[in-house]
């Protein structure tokens, strides 16, 4: 039987699903390594490496409640990253088409480096819109979990409700955020259904 490494172990993954940042940090540090190695080789502008990693892991983080159900986490992460990378590649190629046809290159600087940053800003705004739209009880639970770093068990005690309900509410909030991202054109991650058979 395969023994899971600590950053992908059942405990860690459950912690991440419940919103534990420290556990996610270990997970991120480990899994970002092969991505950085790949991206440093295959991107034109080095500053885009971090932006691609950022977008990839934001998407993973927003799917944290589904992590425990994923069979091959590495493969899943690489699928997400490869799509973010291809979208980036696609945009870069189109951008260069535009620049070349316009024919200007004063001082040799023709590239709009900020497009990735603008994109990330848009993603953040989309997420914020979704969070804003949460109903009050759900918003409160999400806030306690994210802003104050509380575990579901603690939240359950404070709000006098079953732990299962708290977890469901957190999950539902994440679903709303993912739907909003989809609606704004920054999702979905249908790849999940292909890569993680539940049986």
């Amino acid at each position: 039987m395969r023994i899971s490494p600590p950053y992908d172990g059942a405990d860690t993954v459950q912690l991440i699903a419940d919103g534990d940042e420290k556990a996610f940090f270990e997970f991120y540090t480990h899994h970002a390594k092969p991505l950085r190695t790949f991206l440093l080789k295959y991107t034109r502008v080095k500053t885009d490496v971090e932006d691609i990693i950022q977008e990839t892991f934001i998407k993973i983080w927003l799917h944290r409640d589904q992590l425990p159900a994923i069979e091959n986490i590495s493969a899943w992460i690489h699928r997400i990253a490869s799509r973010v990378y291809l979208d980036h590649l696609d945009r870069e190629l189109r951008n260069r088409d535009r620049k070349e046809s316009a024919g200007r290159d004063w001082y040799g600087a023709g590239q709009v480096v900020s497009e990735e940053r603008t994109r990330l800003l848009e993603i953040r705004r989309s997420i914020f819109v979704a969070l804003n739209g949460l109903t009050e009880p759900r918003k409160k639970i999400f806030h306690l979990n994210r802003e104050l770093g509380m575990k579901p068990a603690q939240i359950a005690e404070i709000l006098q409700m079953p732990v299962g309900t708290v977890k469901n509410q957190l999950s539902a909030a994440l679903r709303q955020v993912r739907d909003q991202l989809s609606a704004s054109g920054y999702g979905p991650l249908a790849v999940i259904f292909f890569v993680s058979p539940l049986f």
């Binding site: 190629l93 004063w106 590239q111």
Partner: protein, 392 residues
């Protein structure tokens, strides 16, 4: 498509040496859905084959990226300064317990908690809007707002039009060699306005700012003078370089988009380049050339001009309708609040030097931003008249 072929083409792309044929092949792969899927699968495999034990990135960079990831679904993040980390961590733990207790106390039990004896007003104010004042060359003063589309004047070779909340200078044909007249547009606190100059350059003027410009550009250079903050999209004209002067700083431009921030109560004049190219100069400093994504900073205290990578999203957020801060000091946040919401700021008691990360819409009322900041339990606000009081 095989692995080797893909690896080769992507390497070429990264080096900027794609042949026309390779590029077409890549574009085709990207354009057709089944091909794109397969390409994605292969790239995922390549990522899986990469060595995951090397330490290629510096820790700070990795940490910074992680912080940004965490900030994605945390509207406001309070940053603990590393210097005082050990006791801050303890204080933060106490903070969490206290807040948790308060939450439970206020929600679980039906008891009212009297926090203060005096009736405190929940701080709120409407956001800024489209409003400015235009000073014409003949000393006429015109109030500008979003209402009414009309011609305001014919000045020195241009017709001045107000359309859909934007001011536009339309050059009149057949008028040459006239001495240009200078106009000035100024926004108050709580105002913003967009103006299109006679050469087609668009200027977004932020609150508490002003722009002095000729009604028609003549001569070798196109020159404008700025106070406060503006985002400019300069019309292409290789024959006539565009210049923005703001106090000691001079920004020389061709066709390009950039932001200049030079409020007198901020510590520096910052020029941020979005696209194109600019050269920034200041007395005693050589000319600094900017590449997109960089900004030039002239520190008021030292008079030194330097160039570094910018957080473009954050620096032009205002022009895109957002209020965005990344690890920004509370006092700097409140200065921006003061300018956009037209309120005064006072600090009461021992308000710590804390940093926040947040992103919201500029069109929201002030209470929204303040309540987000208060959610971190690190700062509180009350309002007296038109003054926001910041306290612990």
């Amino acid at each position: 498509m095989d692995q080797q072929q893909i690896g080769h083409i992507l390497k070429q792309y990264a080096a900027g040496t794609l042949t026309g044929e390779e590029r077409r092949e890549l574009e085709q792969w990207l354009a057709k859905q089944p091909d794109r899927e397969e390409l994605a699968a292969r790239i995922a495999m390549m990522m899986g084959e990469e060595d995951n034990t090397s330490q290629l990135t510096d820790q700070d960079q990795s940490q910074e990226t992680f912080d940004r990831i965490m900030a994605a679904d945390k509207p406001v993040v309070r940053h603990i300064k590393p210097a005082s980390r050990w006791w801050m961590a303890a204080a933060a733990a106490v903070l969490v317990l206290v807040s948790a207790g308060a939450y439970w106390f206020l929600n679980g039990k039906k008891q009212s908690v009297e926090v203060a004896q005096t009736k405190t007003v929940k701080p709120d104010k409407d956001p800024g809007r489209n409003t400015a004042v235009l000073y014409l060359a003949d000393s006429t003063v015109v109030e500008l707002d979003s209402t009414g589309n009309r011609q305001l004047a014919a000045q020195g070779g241009s017709r001045v039009m107000l359309t859909n909340g934007q001011l536009a200078y339309v050059p009149q044909l057949g008028i040459n060699g006239m001495l240009p007249a200078y106009n000035r547009i100024a926004t108050p606190r709580g105002g913003e306005f967009t103006i299109i100059l006679s050469d087609g350059t668009t200027v977004w003027l932020n609150a508490a700012s002003s722009l002095k410009f000729p009604t028609v550009f003549s001569g070798d250079k196109r020159v404008v003078e700025l106070t406060g903050e503006a985002y400019l999209k300069v019309a292409e004209d290789p024959q006539h370089p565009f210049e923005v002067k703001i106090r000691d700083v001079n920004v020389a431009v061709l066709g390009t988009q950039f932001n200049v921030m030079g409020y007198e109560d901020e510590a520096a004049i910052i020029t941020t380049l979005v696209s194109g190219a600019v050269r920034v100069t200041a007395p005693g400093n050589g000319g600094k050339l900017l590449a997109p994504g960089e900004h030039a900073v002239l520190k008021n205290s030292t008079g030194q001009l330097y160039v570094e990578k910018a957080d473009v999203g954050e620096e032009v957020a205002w022009k895109n309708g957002s209020i965005q801060f990344e690890r920004t000091n509370i006092r700097q946040i409140m200065r921006q609040v003061s300018r956009w919401y037209d309120v005064d700021i006072k600090y009461r008691g021992d308000v710590e030097d804390m940093d926040f990360t947040c992103a919201i819409s500029r069109k929201d009322k002030l209470s929204k931003l303040l309540s987000l900041l208060e959610m971190t339990a690190a700062v509180h606000f009350t309002m007296e008249g038109n003054t926001i009081i910041v306290h612990k």
